[in-house]
């Protein structure tokens, strides 16, 4: 039997180690946020949200086109990717069995692990080359390829958590399986599914690499899907490597806005997850 003092000592040491590990995780996040806040806050103004970048040499300007472009890209990527991801998950849980389902799950996992620059190259060869030009559409396709596996797997996990007794209850009322899958199972899992969607949006909102040779970026307003379009991460990238002090400031401001959007999306996803109530 070890002495009480020894056990107290062990307890103290291990607790200290865990606190240190927690700090090690939190410190980089805190440092990043504080640094971006320090560098970016001074450049945030109304202009940032309403103006497009000024030509070289002129001061001021903002990233309104980048914000709009990112929003449009995410919206289009969602329109393409969410139905595929969500319905694919419904198929996997409700109808899929055997080799096909295993193959789909495996490819989704592989797709989720593919570096995003490769995803950009795929969209480049699929869309940019045949259409002979960079476009918002190509950017959206690249982003949707990143969203699909995330949404598919999180939705599948959520659907699996819905009790099978609900499926039986619905079938026993004479409701066909496909209606049961969509209107009972998916609806019961809705909050978890939305959480997964928000996380996937948070993920693609900050993606830069897949947009480099698809959406390309744009110094001006562009609302056409067939033309290059600005995106916040791209603008940050381009402005940060430019040799002008003014542009650097704008890049910091952009980084701050992007990080805040990430925070908001993740918090939203968290809150959704917490209020989830399933019998």
């Amino acid at each position: 039997m070890k002495s009480l003092t020894f056990r107290h000592l062990t307890n103290g040491v291990v607790t200290l180690l865990m606190v240190l590990a927690t700090l090690a995780v939190l410190t980089p996040l805190g440092l990043i946020f504080l640094h971006i806040l320090k560098m970016g806050l001074s450049s945030i103004s109304l202009d940032f949200f309403t103006q497009i970048p000024k030509p070289t040499g002129e001061s001021g300007g903002g990233m309104a086109n980048g914000l709009f472009g990112s929003g449009l890209l995410i919206l289009m990527a969602s329109i393409i990717g969410l139905p595929v991801g969500v319905l694919g998950a419904v198929y996997l849980t409700e109808f899929g069995s055997g080799k096909l389902a295993t193959a789909i799950r495996f490819s989704a996992d592989v797709l989720a692990g593919v570096p995003s620059i490769i995803t950009g190259m795929v969209a480049y060869s699929l869309i940019v080359v045949p259409m002979k030009g960079f476009s918002a559409l190509a950017g959206a396709v690249a982003l949707s390829l990143i969203m699909i596996p995330i949404v598919l797997r999180t939705t599948e996990e959520q659907l699996k958590m819905v009790p099978g007794t609900l499926r039986e209850a619905s079938l026993a009322l004479g409701v066909p399986l496909w209606r049961t899958s969509l209107k009972v199972m998916l609806v019961s899992a809705a909050k978890g599914v939305v959480t997964g969607i928000l996380l996937s949006i948070a993920r693609v909102a900050g993606e830069t690499a897949p947009l480099l040779f698809t959406a390309l970026g744009n110094q001006f307003w562009s609302k056409k899907l067939t033309e290059p379009i600005a995106a916040l991460p791209l603008q940050i990238f381009n402005f940060a490597i430019a040799p002008y002090e003014d542009w650097h400031k704008l890049a910091w401001a952009g980084a701050l806005v992007l990080v805040c959007i990430m925070f908001a999306l993740n918090l939203g996803a968290r809150m959704m997850g917490k209020t989830q109530r399933l019998n």
């Binding site: 069995s97 004479g174 409701v175 049961t180």
Partner: protein, 252 residues
């Protein structure tokens, strides 16, 4: 009495496991038939084959004939969905739809199929809830979640949901096993009333319950139908030694 549902030489296999073995049994119309037997004897499996719930289990295979009004429900071209509309089912654990209100749960069968007419909804809700004696308890909170109800109320809600779509046969799979004695009593009274309009088949663990609510009883053991007949006879003067041993509590 004419048979509403008939099993002829009916077997159920799950892969290599022969769960129900060549059962022959008639379920008379407008009466309550109880299926009793120890755990794992195949009584729930038998019940679930009557509304084709096994269709979703890839390894399950039903053979022999099950007829509803003389028509084979596993026959070619028979839609399992329409069978389930005629043969409703109440489950062991109350399973109202958690995302729906009490009102919506009652008309769920219509709502999920997009066949609900607004003008008829309230009437269906009231009459169905009255049938299960739940109306007075919930009429002031029809919009609240079904999950706020007690277990017994939830089970009566599930029965209301089942009769709302106007089936002809109601299957009950140990409907009281998750309920307290008072809630059980209410369900049993309800079963008694339901047989006026429906053919009721109830699986139960509880022999006293079978004796109280049913007109006929069938005793199953190890997948086989050991004996069936009028409830009074099965419980007072069974023909088979196994039946007697089971109802007197010697095993099970």
């Amino acid at each position: 009495m004419n048979a509403k549902v008939s099993l002829e030489n009916m077997s159920v296999h799950f892969g290599g496991n022969h769960a129900v073995k060549s059962v022959n049994l008639d379920f008379p119309a407008n009466s309550v038939t109880a299926i009793i037997g120890p755990s794992g004897c195949g009584k729930s499996t038998l019940l679930r084959s009557i509304n084709r719930m096994h269709d979703l289990v890839p390894t399950a295979r039903v053979s022999g004939r099950i007829t509803l009004d003389g028509k084979d429900i596993y026959g070619a071209g028979v839609d399992p969905v329409s069978i389930r509309r005629t043969i409703g089912m109440v489950f062991q654990k109350p399973n109202p739809f958690p995302a729906m209100s009490i009102h919506d749960n009652v008309v769920a069968g219509y709502k999920l199929n997009n066949t609900l007419k607004r003008s008829e909804a309230d009437e269906i809700v009231e009459s169905s809830l009255r049938r299960v004696a739940l109306w007075d308890e919930v009429k002031d909170r029809l919009k609240s979640s079904a999950m706020d109800l007690s277990g017994g109320q939830q089970q009566r809600l599930c029965i209301a949901r089942t009769i709302a779509v106007q089936p002809e046969v109601i299957l009950m799979d140990e409907p009281c096993s998750a309920l307290d004695p008072i809630a059980t009593l209410k369900i049993e009274e309800l079963v008694e009333e339901l047989k006026e309009q429906y053919t009721v088949i109830i699986v139960t663990h509880n022999m006293q319950q079978a004796a109280r609510v049913s007109d006929s009883t069938a005793f199953m053991y190890m997948g086989e139908m050991v004996e069936s007949g009028p409830t009074k006879k099965i419980f007072t003067n069974p023909e088979m030694k196994q039946t007697e041993d089971y109802i007197t509590g010697r095993f099970g």
